[in-house]
């Protein structure tokens, strides 16, 4: 696991402003981002994705030949248009988690080997850790946060709960996003087929049998029009 995940860290003990005047960890990080954005020379370029502020002033005029340094992009995420300023190095995964405050998508290996970062681009499952945010422009991004309809869980989410399709839960958002696509692609003909087409999502707790059960149940429900 690289870097700290916001959702892995305990929230501040009291809900009111602490002695430094920051009421939450997010707010504190946001203030850091604003500070580093002001100090453009010292901006930590190699850790650009660690910043959480959505809109950071451009530090340099645009390169006429292409995008270099901070650039404003537009992403369609879960039906919303999001404007954010990124360096071309920022992956879709880091943009979602660290800029758009959508930490449901998880960073596992960050090298396309584990599937924890699976999201849908134009309805197809892809790895957000190997996708540059600039390259996701003009496409519909769907994350785990975009699956439920208001308070109604997606059938795959409900089936994962029903079947205990997880233990620690870290791989679960990626498993669910992958499972939704697996069902939509029609690859649920047998346990073997489900396992083959879900092989890009690793679960180190070994919840695989329950994940397969959850996908079978959800596939039946979705065929029945419950989705």
């Amino acid at each position: 696991m690289q870097g700290k995940s916001e959702d892995q860290i305990e929230p501040p003990a009291d809900s009111g402003p602490d002695r430094d005047g920051f009421s939450s960890r997010r707010e504190f990080i946001r203030s850091l981002a604003a500070i580093s954005a002001g100090l453009t020379v010292a901006a930590p370029l190699g850790r650009a994705a660690d910043l959480t502020e959505r809109s950071i002033p451009k530090s340099a005029p645009p390169d006429p030949n292409g995008i270099q340094g901070w650039t404003e992009i537009k992403l369609q995420v879960n039906g919303n248009t999001e404007r954010l300023v990124v360096d071309p190095r920022v992956t879709l995964l880091d943009a979602l988690r660290d800029r758009l405050e959508l930490p449901g998508t998880k960073k596992g290996c960050d090298h396309g080997a584990c599937g924890a970062c699976t999201v849908h681009l134009n309805g197809r499952r892809v790895l957000s850790c190997l996708t540059l945010a600039v390259m996701a422009q003009g496409k519909e991004v769907t994350t785990i946060e975009g699956l439920a309809k208001n308070d109604e869980l997606h059938p795959v989410q409900a089936a994962f709960i029903e079947c205990d399709g997880f233990q620690c839960g870290y791989c679960t958002p990626g498993q669910i996003m992958s499972a939704v696509a697996c069902i939509n692609e029609g690859h649920t003909g047998s346990d073997r087929e489900i396992r083959e087409f879900m092989s890009g999502n690793l679960c180190r707790c070994g919840a695989y049998p329950n994940i397969v059960d959850a996908i079978k149940i959800a596939a039946l429900k979705m065929k029945g029009g419950a989705s």
Binding site: L45, G46, D63, N65, G66, I67, Q68, G69, D87, P88, R89, T91, D110, H111, G112, G115, T118, R124, R125, V126, L127, C129, L130, T131, L132, V134, M135, S178, A181, C182, E185, H187, R195, E196, F197, M198, S199, G200, N201
Partner: protein, 325 residues
């Protein structure tokens, strides 16, 4: 990841004009972003090919045409590909994961880099990554490495399954450089490592793969890809075979065969093919022919098992496709 300039040109000519030894084309990004994060690749310019029109999967009079930007998943499930060249569909479906197949392009698949752990670790020497620095794999961790086509400089395997199928089918790729275009057989495209393992193919700086052409071969309807690996799915080959058979009753009229997971490049086996021609469809024929696969093989400290494994892979592929008990 090192800083880079990102560009998205709208024509192949523009893309090629932005290419250089310090630039990289990006399509799916599944190799490039991974290796840029590891700082194995450090392009100062990344040229996005996705706005280009290098698409289409068409069955033409003289064979199959696949646009270089088509995704692995789309090619694998294309009805014409699955019906006319099952070996291509199967090689693709046994590659990577569903997510990666949705991202990776056909052109990029053919240019993916080796999975050798020393190549991927910038803290170790590697002649492919840093010419002249040495090859720790020769005496080190080399269980996954090649037994065919190796040199004292490099023993890394070529990881593409698709390339093995395409070499077996005598496919070509179209390359574009400026306004110049050329068609080159894929089997001539890949280079042996020799003492320049950093040069893996005949692509010039800035040159672009625009399409794949697979010749018409009606009997390739009877073809298959067999991949042997440590895990049943989502793993690179220890050994693999791409095979097409033209049968006349229980005799072999013609065959195409190439192997993967054992060579420094996709490994075509014309001598195995010759040994099959006109022969009866049985275990003796298969075993005798498979022996030609290991001509010149050089096992390393941990991968001697591949000498047997590749022959068994070939025999099993022949038995399965020839329906020999």
């Amino acid at each position: 990841m090192r800083p880079f300039v990102y560009e998205s040109p709208s024509t192949p000519q523009q893309a090629v004009s932005r290419g250089s030894a310090n630039s990289a084309f990006i399509a799916g990004g599944t190799t490039l972003i991974d290796l840029m994060k590891l700082e194995v690749m450090k392009p100062s310019r990344v040229v996005d090919l996705n706005p280009l029109e290098l698409r289409g999967i068409d069955m033409l009079e003289d064979g199959l045409r696949i646009g270089a930007l088509e995704k692995m998943s789309d090619v694998a499930r294309h009805p014409q590909v699955a019906a006319n060249y099952p070996v291509i569909s199967q090689a693709l479906l046994q590659s990577a994961s569903a997510q990666i197949r949705n991202m990776a392009s056909i052109g990029g698949n053919l240019l993916q880099r080796t999975r050798c752990g020393y190549f991927r670790d910038v803290n170790t020497p590697c002649n492919k990554r840093e010419p002249g620095s040495g090859c720790p794999a020769i005496e080190g961790e080399n269980r996954m490495h090649a037994i065919l086509g190796t040199s004292e400089s490099c023993v890394a395997t070529h990881p593409s399954d698709l390339a093995v199928a395409l070499v077996a089918l005598d496919a070509s790729i179209r390359l574009q450089n400026g306004t110049d275009e050329r068609l080159i057989k894929l089997d001539d495209f890949y280079l042996l490592p020799g003492d320049t393992p950093d040069r893996e193919n005949r692509l010039q700086p800035g040159e672009l793969i625009t399409e794949v052409r697979v010749p018409m071969l009606p009997w390739a309807r009877k073809s298959a890809y067999l991949k042997i690996r440590d895990r049943e799915s989502y793993e690179f080959a220890l050994s693999s075979a791409a095979l097409a058979l033209d049968l006349d009753g229980d005799r072999i009229r013609d065959a195409r065969i190439a192997v993967g997971g054992v060579g420094t490049r996709p490994w075509n086996l014309p001598k195995v093919r010759e040994a099959l021609l006109g022969k009866p469809l049985n275990q003796e024929t298969f075993a005798a022919a498979a022996r030609f696969a290991i001509e010149g093989a050089y096992p390393l400290t941990q991968n001697g098992f591949k000498i047997d494994l590749v022959q068994r892979t070939i025999v099993r592929a022949l038995k399965d496709l020839g329906e020999v008990a």
